[in-house]
Symmetry: C3
Subunit: 665 residues, 3 copies
């Protein structure tokens, strides 16, 4: 069954709406809804007094309508009574401000009272619903990521540090506490990062983010185990959310999920929304180890851009939804089913908006439901790619601090730019995770590995990358990669310390460009944001700097190492220059696009036996088909080419499956 549905909050509506909801869900072909997220104060209106009547009723009504349930534990938002009884369960900012209820996520994950209450309500739900016939999935909590700096957190942090570092000498060394007289002589002296006079210790900040990720994961595992115990057949998950402020290393978390579930909200309204959708889908598939995952939330009809809620153009809901599906999602779920009348998010996106079902979004949803029904059973395992980008949450965190050589260093932006370049060229791309078990072994599946801003590198990861090149792979990296060890200590002797040998270069000076300037390269491109003084040590110089004091110095190099090739890209590049460079690498490595000969703005994604075509442009796009094909939705045969209308989507089945991945042969 493909998942199609969204967050459903019957507790916000009178009972008479419930019947209409189920009827509309059936009309739209909804197959599953997320129930009970944020319903704690309705399930347990006072401490220890539970009210499951309404949930029983709606579970039964949904079941009667043939709709499955992803039942949530509501622990992301403790009720006001909890807060009043347990103020120590509220989160505290770095400034020492104890937050108050009145929003959501007002809890401290390290507070025993909170953890006990969370286990309590999860246990009640497990006991009552674990074998309900509508139940298809447990949805633990919501978007883990809440930060706290209280004294309970300090205690937990110290415990985590003792496990990680063993003794204080090791910690003092890892944190370079010799700088600024921070040497700890007792574990009790160590605090979470709190308001301090000037720049904090970056290693302390980094370890705190790691700790918080693990601490939150502990809270998840506690609930998961309890739900699993009640019925081992029901998969358990939580919905990942991504953002610079979220201290969750999803690559580590994924192994504890029965199904990786992801909330994904593109942040741009223009064509970048499509690039972000592709990025989000590929990254989620990476977390899921290349297998199936689930889009748990996205905005059906809105894109949240800075300062604006942008209404999607007609067809865009369908195009985005099928794009996630093509990239490995088990379906498409949304926040939310019905737009609320009040509350803090009363203008957020919904399948049934304030205007009601007589609205563009609901009509498009009905059509999408039909399409998904037609595709059910045809979408099989995703097709692995031949190119992979490395994603590393700790490197992201390390590059978010102050004290860096440039204030606009943007880890996420660098990774997205690399992905966007490959996406624009139509090359299928996976993600790999340097910190994860099996990383080294997994590299052999790829012809090209791209490392944007892989700032922190362990010796093991460096060795795995070296072996990848030596064994014949193409590795592409650039500035700010290979700089430090996992504690953030610089690898000395010239950047990038971890990779100098197999890159055949040595960087002796960073020269971030003055804001608003670029630097000429001798191939006619412009370096942006960053330049460096690079010395070659075996590498061949492909492109040189052509301006500034660096004139004539190497900018882009290539080094034969063993059977493979390592490319070093010193300057920042704009999108077009980066795409051309990666095209060259792909050509040298023999990596073709998913389909050759695509018109501009038409995207092709292969999943199992199907190829999905997306026309993100404003004119029809005609796609030559490399083999006899069938329209996977209508099941009609197709001629030698298909034309995708502007904004449209097609799913086709190509006959010659054995050519998968190399249609251009």
């Amino acid at each position: 069954m493909l998942f199609f549905g969204g967050d459903y909050n019957p507790e916000q509506w009178p009972e008479e709406v419930w019947a209409e909801d189920v009827a509309l869900m059936r009309q739209a072909g909804v197959t599953i809804v997320s129930l009970g997220v944020f319903a704690w104060s309705h399930l347990e209106p006072e401490e220890g007094r539970f009210d499951f009547g309404w949930l029983d009723q709606i579970m039964d009504q949904l079941h009667a309508g043939g709709i499955k349930v992803a039942l949530a534990t509501p622990t992301a938002s403790p009720p006001p009574w909890f807060t009043l009884a347990h103020p120590e369960g509220l989160p505290v900012t770095a400034d020492g401000v104890r937050l108050t209820h009145g929003s959501r996520d007002t809890y401290c994950v390290s507070a025993p009272a909170y953890r006990a209450a969370a286990r309590g309500i999860a246990g009640e739900l497990a006991a009552r619903y674990a074998r309900h016939p509508a139940l298809a999935l447990w949805h633990v909590h919501n978007e883990y990521g809440t930060d706290c700096r209280c004294d309970l957190t300090a205690t937990a942090f110290r415990g985590w540090l003792q496990k990680r570092h063993g003794d204080l000498d090791t910690l003092n060394d890892a944190w370079t506490t010799a700088f600024w007289s921070q040497r700890y002589s007792d574990w009790a002296q160590i605090m979470p990062p709190r308001a301090t006079q000037y720049l904090p210790n970056p290693a302390q900040v980094l370890d705190f983010r790691r700790f918080l990720s693990d601490e939150l994961l502990g809270a998840y595992v506690e609930q998961r185990d309890l739900l699993r115990a009640a019925n081992p057949d029901i998969p358990v998950t939580t919905n990942f959310v991504q953002g610079g402020w979220v201290s969750v290393d999803h690559a580590r978390w994924a192994s504890e999920m029965d199904l990786v579930a992801v909330d994904h909200y593109p942040a741009a309204a223009d064509r970048n929304a499509e690039a972000e959708t592709a990025f989000g889908g590929d990254l989620a598939r990476g977390w899921a180890g290349g297998g199936e995952w689930l889009l748990m939330e996205t905005g059906p009809n809105l894109i949240y851009t800075p300062g604006r809620m942008h209404a999607k153009e007609p067809g865009r809901l369908t195009r985005h939804s099928l794009n996630y599906l093509a990239r490995g999602s088990r379906g498409a779920m949304y926040f939310q089913w019905r737009q609320p009348r009040g509350g803090a998010e009363l203008f957020h996106s919904a399948l049934v908006p304030h205007a009601g079902p007589d609205s563009p979004v609901f009509r498009e949803a009905v059509g999408l439901g039909r399409t998904l029904k037609a595709l059910d059973g045809q979408v099989t395992a995703p097709v692995p790619a031949q190119v992979a980008i490395a994603w590393d949450a700790p490197s992201w965190w390390a590059l978010q601090g102050g004290g860096l050589p440039a204030a606009d260093i943007d880890y996420l932006g660098a990774v997205q730019q690399a992905h966007r370049a490959l996406w624009t060229s139509g090359v299928a791309t996976d993600f790999v995770f340097p910190g994860r078990d099996g990383f080294a072994a997994g590299l052999s599946a790829y012809k090209i590995i791209v490392l944007p801003h892989l700032y922190l590198v362990s010796d093991e990861v460096a060795a795995a990358l070296r072996d990848f090149v030596a064994s014949g792979g193409h590795l592409v990296t650039g500035h700010l990669s290979g700089i430090a060890d996992p504690a953030g200590r610089i690898r000395l002797g010239g950047y990038p310390g971890a990779f100098r040998d197999f890159l055949g270069v040595r960087v002796v000076e960073w020269r971030p460009l003055p804001i608003g300037t670029t630097i000429a390269l001798d191939n006619g491109d412009q370096g942006v944001r960053w330049s460096e003084r690079v010395e070659t040590a075996g590498a061949e110089t492909l492109v040189r700097y052509a301006g500034d004091v660096l004139a004539g110095a190497p900018a882009i190099t290539r080094h034969r190492h063993g059977a493979g090739t390592a490319w070093y890209v010193s300057p920042g590049l704009d999108d077009d220059a980066l795409r051309r460079l990666l095209d060259r690498v792909a050509t040298e490595a023999g990596v073709p696009p998913v389909l050759p000969g695509l018109p501009p703005h038409v995207e092709a994604v292969r999943r199992g036996d199907l190829v999905f075509l997306f026309n993100h442009g404003e004119t029809p796009g005609t796609v030559p088909l490399p083999a006899p094909a069938t329209n996977a939705i209508t099941r009609r045969p197709l001629s030698e080419s298909v034309t995708v209308p502007p904004g449209g989507t097609m799913a086709i089945e190509l006959e010659s499956r054995s050519d998968a991945g190399c249609p251009a042969g």
Copy 2:
């Protein structure tokens, strides 16, 4: 007597200056001064020890000089001794920071100790000065608006909520606490909005602002009653201040004032200062129910623009002052008489600046004093207008929160733009207040009602507006009006839920424009900031969207409803386009400008028997006179036209008074 004067702080100066002050006041024709604002620490230097000697003396000196006194209660700034003795009387921020004395307004209006101290000092002043011959007005406090989130405030807030909502179920429903698990099971769980994890509950924020307005009003009423009791013949007021941060619903407050008094500071140095002056004057007259009000403070020689104190050009003090007068003020008062040597506002505007009376501002003040003296007795009741704009403080508050579809929604800006459009066309404009007693009955006085961003609408207000149209009126509204009930809950089924029927439209999708873009309309104009998918349901489409996915969809519509007409303006418009649209409505409704044939930048305002002319331009402006006329200041007869010099002002008396309001008729 026309009021002419300003805030006077003799306590900042040695006694020898006092005599000079009275002499200079007489030279300038000052008739009244505000005395004692912020003088608490001089009147009561220690708890319970009073020093009235200096005030006795200056009251007598002023009286001897023929100058009246608006005597203030100094309760806006408790002395340091109060704070030290009653720290719980200090305000607390949403972050929990208890503020300290050292500025002004460091009090919590819900603190019993503060309230008792305020009644104490006000009572002493009442007892001593209520029958002083110089006393003409009580000026309670200063610019009520101070916010606090402390526990005493929490208690008062809960009491207010109990009165408003009756029981918790009603409150939970009004606040949609089902969203994010905020359901309250005990009143004690409810807090003022305080620092929380993410977006606050908008209904809680809205009710808190209402509460704060009522709570501050209670403090005013307490003082007023006490002052009134001491001498029922002396009117009592407080000076209203306007600003996005001020939680005071002046429309509600006005009925408790004996004379509505307003502080008004335009925020632009260019021609917008004149538009803002007109806006401020008309709004104040609206608060006063169309009758006389008082400009209590404005900057005589400075305009406070962002980052700059702008010195007014010669003549501008006069032009602004008479504009307020023309719009219904009883005169013109200023902050302040004499510029202080020190203190936080040592550079604020004054009639006697640091340079002393030998200065441009004092010389212009002397001339203005003569003009006002000449006009005394000639200015009678303001002339009601035929157009009114609705002003609604709760709608403003509701549109200030986060979580809205666009971050640049600007309630005040939208109201000011509508007023500016009518002002530019020379059409006299009133303000009406949907939440106020008599609102429905008052509508019949107008031919046109304009509703900018009237976001919150009760059923009663919606019915009154519907009746207004049905009875023959012209109603103009646009996006973000009629959206929600007074609790902020969306009126479902399509926007604007409250007005759909009589507008004959249904909006199914909001499409705020990407920042920096516009959308073409088929009449050649451009929509700005906002667009929508509008469906007509009876209305006639006057203008269509011409670009984007909305091409061909209705943008501006007109609907005959009963005997009247309702106009819907979906996009944002620039000033010129809005002016042309409102000109069209005025033409259809038969509403003429105050005077026809005015040259650009010359403004005409009618008050009672007089017409004031203001030339805001840089060239002379010749105004044809529709009837025989007299210069009201010189009392000389005028010929068929008058020429107003650049920057100049004239007051003329037209003979044919029976044509008032319809001179073009």
Copy 3:
């Protein structure tokens, strides 16, 4: 011995690196290092337990290598154990947030526990190392400037105020507490400036900054006396740091230093870095009373610009270093010797960078070391200048508050602009300090005094300036000078109250220009940021305003007063216009440049017998020599002119020393 070296932190490195360090220092010609800054937690790992073994060892190793030591007391960063034991020793923000260790400078200078601990560790160091043969200088603390608003600070502040003001009446008058009801009736009511409702009292803020400067100085003196007592032959200093947030009046502090030491970091990467270097050097020499001082810290290879660390171009390290030397520094020291592997400043500048000694910066340092060695013994006392700019920290502080007529008033910018104008014209410039002993007497050494934004002026200072003019001097000042007394109370009757008589002008109105606009002057220049209505009262008008309502009014005036001349510059000027004006003043006053006929971008600085030439341009610059000369580094004779390569530096010895300062004479 010229000082050449930098901060050295062996405690951050394993012992095996120490030997390499000493060897590299010898290779580079390092003569001295700063040791032990921030080493408290290594010297006293637990309260009362000291570990001097490592310091003994490195002191001995350095001594063996012939390298001297500036030994620091590490009191700028108490160890975590101190904080845990004495939380009252942590600083508290104006919002009441008590900061936590984890950065540096987490101390309250008014906390007795902190002061005792600081004396303790300083005493231990004194006892152990005062007679160590490597010791050349005591370096107390680091960059004093930490702010605190806690209750202990409040107590100290009250004590300081009692000494300054004597009684409360005087304080109430000085602070104009009559404004906003702030009159204090008990010392206990007075607080440091803390979070308050609105604008704070500017006099309270000003006195708090003065207090903090004195309080920090007290902490310095305490340590100095203790170190001096241990060995009177070793000079004691602390490193001054400059910044808008630093409450240290270095002009007052300098008299307590045995050698004025300065940290100086230019903030621009373009040619302004050179102007800032000249400014920093001249200001430091001023603090040192015209004598020798020491550049204690600058970034050897980086310039810290907003959002960027900019790598210096080749030769720039040398050029900057010799410029400080030419301006009176005893040498050049850097932060830091070896770039750290971790910690908050792991990317800060160093002589031995992450890349190691095989790097551009280390190679340039080696060359610079050779140059300094060649110059050793040749650089004698600096040459006094004939022009001086006044620098006044309290005026800076007073102009940083809110409530000023323009938000972009920039004291530092105004002083730097005046200096830059003279620097561009090649005129040697000193600084004088109105608040300092000997100010009046010192003026006679100069022909021109420039007073940018000298906002606060005592009667004594005003009299000294008046005498300077009367005795034949040229005084140049402009808007925002002479406005207030030292308490910030306005001098009434027209600006600039303190200087009206000898300037022969009276300013009756300030007219800061609307942001983004300029005002025409009748000499073709444009006024920027500021204009005023100026009335002359004896002065001659040189330039008039030509636009706006000021058209025809005086803009720049000159007044003969006694034997001298006082110039008033009402508008802001751009760099070029100000330079031309000061050129004119210099010509009238008979002040020549250091060397005539310099090509653009070539700078000449005379120190003692030497003239240093700096070519900041990108082309060679040929300099005619006014007398027979010798290359001071190579000791080779020079012909009639020398050519300085782009980016290059030369030191030459001119034979005709008696012409010093008047080579064009």
